[in-house]
C-alpha cells in the first residue's frame, strides 16, 4: 500500500481539479448495484425456470418412473448402474461419438476448402457465394425428408443417378450397413456451409501485414498457408468446430426424421434413444438417464473446447 501512496494522491488531486461533469459517471450506488438484476429479471424468469425441469430430469433419472405405474420410487443410481452394464448403452455411445466425430471431421475439411475456394476472385465464387447458406437455413428435419424422397427405391432420383455407376438399389437408411452413411450424408450437406461461412469470415478478416512481409521474404505459398494463414484462422475454425461438435453430439432431427433410429437400433444415439425410451416404451427414468449422460459429455467437451478457444484467441490478438 505505502508504495502506492504517491500515485494515489496524484490521482486524487487530478480528480478534484477536473470539472464536475467529468467525474466518473458511474459511482456504484445502491441503485446501480441492483439495476442489472432488475433489467435481467424478466429474461431470467422466462428462461431460468427451465432450471427446475433440469433438476426434475436428474431426479427422475434416479427413480423407477414408468408411464404404466402411478407411483414413483427413488432408486438411487440403480438406473445408471444397469445402463452402464447394458449393450444398448454402449451401442448408443458408439453411435453418438461415431456420428459426431465423422460429421465434424468431414464438415471441417470440406468447409475450409469451400471457404478458400470462395475467397478467390474467380467468377464462380462471386456467383455462388450468396447461395452458400441455403442448406443451413432449411429445417434439418425438412432437409432429411427431402433426401428421403430422393432416396425412395421406387422413384428416387439418387438411385437413378447411381444406376449409371453400376450401383442398383442402394439401400440407404433401410440397411444397417448403409444407415450411418445415409444420415451422415444429410448432416454434411446441411452443416458444412456453417463451417465454410465462419471460416470465410475469418479469411476476410485476415490482417494484410504478415502476408506482405512473407511475400517480401519470398516465402512459398505452402509456407505462407501453413505458418501464417492457418494459425490466424485457428480461432475461427475452433469456434465453428465447437458449435458443430456440440450440435452433432445431440443430433435428433436428422436421425429421427430419417429412420427414427432404425433399422432396429442401428442409429440410436443418446437423444433418439432417450426419446424412444420415454415416449415409445414409457420409461422416462431410463430415457432421462441417457439424456443426463449425454448432457454431461457435452458439458465436459464444451468446457474444454471453450478454454482452448480462449487460449488460441488470446495468442493471436
Amino acid at each position: 500500500m505505502s508504495t502506492n501512496i504517491d500515485v494515489g494522491t496524484i490521482d486524487k488531486t487530478e480528480h478534484y481539479n477536473l470539472p464536475v461533469s467529468d467525474v466518473p459517471l458511474n459511482p456504484i450506488s445502491r441503485k446501480e448495484r441492483w439495476a442489472p438484476y432488475l433489467i435481467l429479471g424478466p429474461a431470467l424468469l422466462v428462461t431460468g425456470v427451465v432450471l427446475i425441469p433440469f433438476f426434475i430430469s436428474i431426479y427422475y433419472s434416479l427413480t423407477d418412473y414408468r408411464f404404466t405405474r402411478p407411483d414413483i420410487n427413488f432408486v438411487g443410481l440403480q438406473n445408471y448402474i444397469r445402463i452402464l452394464s447394458s449393450k444398448a448403452f454402449w451401442h448408443s455411445v458408439q453411435v453418438t461419438l461415431q456420428y459426431a466425430l465423422i460429421a465434424v471431421s468431414i464438415e471441417t475439411l470440406l468447409g475450409v476448402i469451400i471457404a478458400f475456394l470462395l475467397n478467390t476472385e474467380s467468377l464462380m465464387a462471386k456467383i455462388l457465394r450468396p447461395f452458400l447458406l441455403m442448406p443451413l437455413m432449411i429445417a434439418p428435419l425438412i432437409t432429411t425428408l427431402m433426401w428421403r424422397l430422393m432416396m425412395s427405391p421406387d422413384f428416387g432420383v439418387l438411385n437413378y443417378i447411381l444406376s449409371f455407376f453400376g450401383q442398383r438399389e442402394f439401400p440407404w437408411a433401410t440397411s444397417p450397413k448403409t444407415a450411418m452413411f445415409t444420415v451422415l450424408l444429410v448432416e454434411v450437406w446441411t452443416f458444412t456451409p456453417f463451417i465454410a461461412l465462419l471460416v470465410l469470415a475469418g479469411l476476410k478478416a485476415l490482417p494484410k501485414e504478415p502476408f506482405e512481409a512473407a511475400q517480401v521474404d519470398g516465402a512459398s505459398r505452402w509456407f505462407t498457408l501453413k505458418n501464417i494463414t492457418l494459425p490466424l484462422l485457428t480461432p475461427y475454425i475452433t469456434i465453428a468446430v465447437i458449435f458443430r461438435l456440440i450440435d452433432s453430439l445431440r443430433q435428433f432431427d436428422i436421425i429421427f426424421g430419417m429412420s427414427k433410429g432404425g433399422p432396429g437400433d442401428t442409429l440410436m444415439n443418446f437423444q433418439v434413444y432417450g426419446y424412444t425410451s420415454t415416449f415409445t416404451y414409457g420409461k422416462p427414468a431410463e430415457g432421462l438417464a441417457y439424456i443426463v449422460i449425454n448432457w454431461f459429455i457435452i458439458y465436459i467437451i464444451s468446457t474444454y473446447m471453450v478454454k482452448y478457444w480462449r487460449k488460441v484467441q488470446s495468442r493471436i490478438s
Binding site: L133, M137, L141, F279
Partner: protein, 292 residues
C-alpha cells in the same frame, strides 16, 4: 520469358480448377433444393415415374391444394389438407417467441454488457448453455408439467418453451453488438442532462437497430425450423410445419406432391432472406463469438 509463360499457364489452370471445383461442390449443395422445387410443380404421376423426370409440364395443382386446403384424389373424392393451419401455427409461435425474446432479451443484453456485477459471467453463461444443452433434458419434465397445468399443445406454452431457442440468441448476439458501441456515446448524453435510460434510447438504440433486426431474423429462422419442441409439446392444435411434414411422409405416396409444395413454401421466403442477410449472420450463427 519462359518462366513467366509457365507461371501464366499455371494461373490459367488454377482459375479453371477453382471454378470447376466450385461448380461441382455447389451442384451437390443446390441440387436437392432445386429437385424439391421441381417436384412441387409435378403431377403425382410425374413424381412417381421411373426413370425420374427431369423435364415435365409444370402444374400448380399442388399449390392450389395447399392454399384451398383440399386435394382431389381420383376415385376417392376430396381430402382435407391441413398444411395451411400448420403454417399459421408456426408463424404465431415463432413470431411470438421472437417478440418476447427481443422485448426481454435486448435490455438483458444491455445489462450484461454495460454493468459490472458479480454474477455477470455466470448469468451470461447460463443463457448460453440453453443453446447447447440436449433439449430433451428439459422438455421431458416440461411435458409432464404442461400436461398437469394445461399448457400442452397451446400457443402460450410453446411460445414460452421456444424462449430456450430464441432468448440465448438474442441476448448473446445483442451483447456483442452493444459491446462494440463505446459507452462514451451514452455518457455524453448523460452529461447533457438526460437520465440514463433516455440516453440509451436516444443514442444506443439507433446504432444497434440493424443488430436487433439481424438477431431477430436469425432467432425467427431457428424457431421456424425447430422440430423437437413441437414433437414433444405440440399436437393437433399447434402442429408446426415440421411436425406436419413428418406426418405427410408417413402417409401414402399420393400426397408427396402436396408435401413438396408445402416444404417449398416453408423454406423459400427464408432462402431469399438468407441471400441478402448472409453477411449479418456470421456474428449471429457464432452467437457473437465472431464479430465482423
Amino acid at each position: 520469358m519462359e518462366q513467366i509463360e509457365i507461371k501464366q499457364r499455371k494461373n490459367w489452370l488454377s482459375i479453371i480448377g477453382v471454378n470447376l471445383a466450385l461448380i461441382v461442390i455447389f451442384a451437390f449443395f443446390l441440387f436437392p433444393i432445386l429437385w424439391m422445387v421441381g417436384m412441387s410443380f409435378k403431377t403425382i404421376d410425374d413424381i412417381l415415374a421411373w426413370p425420374p423426370k427431369f423435364f415435365f409440364t409444370p402444374t400448380l395443382e399442388n399449390y392450389k391444394a395447399i392454399i384451398f386446403s383440399q386435394m382431389e384424389v381420383r376415385g376417392v373424392g376430396s381430402i382435407q389438407i391441413d398444411f395451411m393451419a400448420s403454417f399459421l401455427n408456426t408463424l404465431i409461435i415463432s413470431a411470438g417467441a421472437v417478440l418476447v425474446s427481443v422485448i426481454l432479451g435486448v435490455p438483458a443484453a444491455y445489462a450484461l454488457s454495460r454493468f459490472k456485477f458479480k454474477a455477470r459471467e455466470n448469468i451470461g453463461f447460463m443463457f448460453l448453455s440453453f443453446r447447447f444443452g440436449p433439449e430433451l433434458l428439459v422438455i421431458i419434465p416440461i411435458y409432464f408439467i404442461f400436461q398437469r397445468i394445461g399448457l400442452i399443445d397451446t400457443y402460450p406454452g410453446l411460445i414460452w418453451v421456444y424462449q430456450l431457442i430464441t432468448m440465448p440468441m438474442v441476448i448473446w448476439i445483442m451483447r456483442s453488438y452493444i459491446e462494440d458501441v463505446p459507452v462514451d456515446f451514452e455518457d455524453a448524453c448523460v452529461v447533457d442532462g438526460y437520465p440514463r435510460w433516455k440516453a440509451v434510447f436516444r443514442v444506443l438504440t439507433p446504432i444497434i437497430r440493424p443488430g436487433i433486426a439481424a438477431s431477430a431474423l436469425l432467432a425467427f429462422i431457428y424457431a421456424w425450423n425447430n422440430f423437437i419442441f413441437a414433437l414433444v409439446l405440440g399436437s393437433s392444435n399447434t402442429s408446426t410445419i415440421t411436425l406436419s411434414a413428418m406426418k405427410f411422409i408417413s402417409a401414402e405416396a399420393l400426397r408427396y406432391g402436396i408435401m413438396s409444395a408445402g416444404i417449398v413454401i416453408s423454406f423459400l421466403p427464408i432462402l431469399v432472406f438468407s441471400i441478402f442477410a448472409q453477411r449479418y449472420f456470421v456474428r449471429g450463427l457464432s452467437m457473437g463469438a465472431i464479430k465482423r
